[in-house]
């Protein structure tokens, strides 16, 4: 039980509990909070793995921007507790079992994966950020440009969608 393993288990438990809480809670805000917990836990895991840049970005963008946006929208729409309608028979009956089956499939597929996955790894923090940045701006520059364009379009779309039509 090395300290890393202990930290991992703590964070993993945090993440799973957060995810469960997201499902259990009936008010969007609480779901959002639990999701934030999950994200912070994941950030911790990234740190544990030694990819600190991704961890930071995870918190800054996900925690600081996206989730804030969610909370903001929830506050804006003043969303109440969600009502438990059961209109969709299919989802009511088949939904959960199917999801569980999916989960089982994934877990099994990983569990029986080859040994290389079973082995642990040394977290390589050295020059990680620099490496990522060079790769991002050399090998992946076109995808990068594309994503920035995507962002632009998304901003425009959001503005167009959310503005009240002038009458």
């Amino acid at each position: 039980m090395t300290p890393q393993l202990a930290v991992f288990f703590v964070l993993a438990a945090l993440a799973v509990l957060g995810a469960l809480n997201l499902i259990i809670q009936r008010h969007p805000i609480h779901s959002a909070l639990s999701l934030i917990v999950v994200m912070i836990a994941l950030a911790g895991l990234y740190l544990l793995m030694g990819s600190e840049f991704v961890a930071a970005v995870q918190i800054i963008v996900y925690g600081g921007a996206i989730m804030v946006l969610f909370v903001f929208v929830i506050m804006l729409l003043n969303a109440g507790v969600e009502e438990r309608t059961n209109i969709s028979k299919l989802a009511g009956i088949a939904g959960i079992p199917l999801a569980v089956a999916l989960l089982g499939f994934l877990a099994a597929a990983i569990a029986r994966s080859n040994e290389s996955a079973q082995a642990g790894f040394e977290s390589s923090t050295l020059a990680n950020t620099k490496e990522i940045s060079t790769m991002l701006f050399k090998d992946f520059v076109y995808p990068f440009e594309l994503t920035s364009f995507l962002i632009l379009v998304a901003i425009l779309g959001a503005i167009v969608l959310a503005q009240r039509e002038k009458s």
């Binding site: 800054i60 925690g63 804030v68 909370v71 506050m75 804006l76």
Partner: protein
């Protein structure tokens, strides 16, 4: 006992450092309020607090006692969990962010161990700091939402919107500095400004990054919800904004959080743009090393003199004591050159931080508040473009003639 200490010294040292830092920060917070009130008062040609203790020096203690002892009602229909979570989050995050600031160049040599000034020395320091500030939105937003009242809700909405929008330019404005330093680590950033020791003040980032500094400072002020960006708590329109429904100690938490983040921002400004602990004078001017004592001793003497002719007996007793203590400190610095050398860094750092805190207060005293739409359009239409332009220009300059 000793063996136990040796066994897990690092942990103990960390604990001690944390405790010490917490104590210092909280005290500074307290006296920052006093300082603010005094300064603003003098700006408005008032006396400010002067009843409690000489020059009202004990006022912060009184306030603290009041916060602790007041009744703490929980409004009806609030969302309990969130209602309690919000102030905690705010305070915790604010205090955490301090932990990343390094306070001095060389470690303190004590008990045969090197004790670095500053708690966490991450090599993504600035990023971590931003991560924490990013999270600090929740404190405000959740507080506004959970107190189940319309003014707080509006305040929360405003503040979350404002913080998210200014966070962008905050981050962007720093990128220039990061490009110059080539690292996220705060120490590296400071050292990067010491490339040319002879330039002294002219080696600091503030000159090449004047735009960045402007953007950073404005955005930082907005992040901390201070005047002129204190819309979330605009008394005239929103009673007290997001913490309207909070009383006594929960309110105190928000309060402390705000002042702590003020300190953090000042530290950041100092480190990013004003060379952190670097002396403004060329390194060769060794005589400037006596500047701390040159400042301290006269100040102490002035305090003694002022104390002797103070109205109240209490003052006549306290002030001379404090004054002589300060004078003694100056004398010690002259007496022990090693200590003097060691004190240089922290001295300059603290001095600059003090200046920034003063600027904060100054703005509070002078500037009017923005209107909300002005705030938004300013943030999105001026600040963000300028900071991005700054990034582009810096990158271009570095590419052209490796401006390091």
């Amino acid at each position: 006992m000793i063996s136990f200490l040796n066994a897990n010294a690092t942990i103990i040292i960390y604990l001690v450092k944390i405790a010490l830092l917490l104590f210092i920060v909280l005290t500074v917070n307290a006296y920052l309020t006093w300082f603010e009130r005094k300064v603003v008062a003098h700006m408005q040609s008032r006396w400010g607090p002067h009843r409690v203790g000489p020059h009202g020096l004990l006022q912060p203690l009184a306030d603290g006692a009041k916060f602790l002892l007041k009744e703490d009602p929980t409004p009806a229909g609030v969302d309990k969990f969130t209602y309690f979570l919000a102030p905690l989050m705010a305070l915790a995050l604010a205090l955490t962010s301090i932990a990343i600031i390094p306070f001095g160049p060389q470690p303190l040599h004590l008990f045969g161990r090197d004790i670095t000034l500053g708690i966490a020395d991450l090599n993504i320091g600035i990023l971590a700091l931003f991560a924490i500030t990013a999270l600090s939105v929740y404190g405000v937003a959740l507080a506004g939402w959970s107190s189940n009242s319309k003014y707080p809700l509006l305040g929360g909405l405003r503040s979350s919107a404002q913080m998210v929008s200014y966070e962008l330019s905050l981050t962007m404005s720093v990128v220039g500095v990061l490009l110059l330093a080539g690292s996220f680590n705060l120490r590296d950033i400071i050292n990067a400004q010491a490339h040319h020791p002879e330039r002294g003040i002219f080696g600091w980032n503030v000159w090449p990054q004047i735009l960045g500094f402007f953007c950073f400072f404005v955005a930082a002020v907005a992040e901390t919800n201070r005047v002129p960006f204190d819309l979330p708590e605009a008394e005239s329109e929103l009673v007290a904004g997001f913490h309207t429904e909070y009383a006594s100690f929960k309110f105190a938490m928000f309060f402390i959080a705000e002042y702590t983040s003020m300190i953090t921002v000042s530290c950041l400004c100092t480190i990013m743009f004003f060379g952190g602990w670097l002396s403004p004078f060329p390194a060769s001017w060794t005589f400037t090393h006596y500047l701390p004592s040159v400042i301290l001793i006269p100040f102490g003497l002035w305090v003694i003199w002022d104390g002797i002719r103070y109205e109240t007996i209490f003052g006549r007793i306290i002030l001379p004591g404090v004054g002589s203590a300060i004078t003694a400190m100056g004398a010690v610095l002259i007496a022990f050159p090693t200590v003097n050398e060691f004190i240089q860094g922290p001295f300059w750092l603290l001095a600059k931080i003090f200046v920034f805190l003063f600027v904060y207060v100054w703005m509070r005293g002078t500037l009017p508040r923005f209107r909300y739409d002005q705030l938004m359009s300013f943030g999105w239409k001026l600040l963000l473009p300028v900071s991005i332009a700054n990034v582009v220009i810096t990158a271009f300059a570095i590419l052209m003639w490796g401006a390091r």
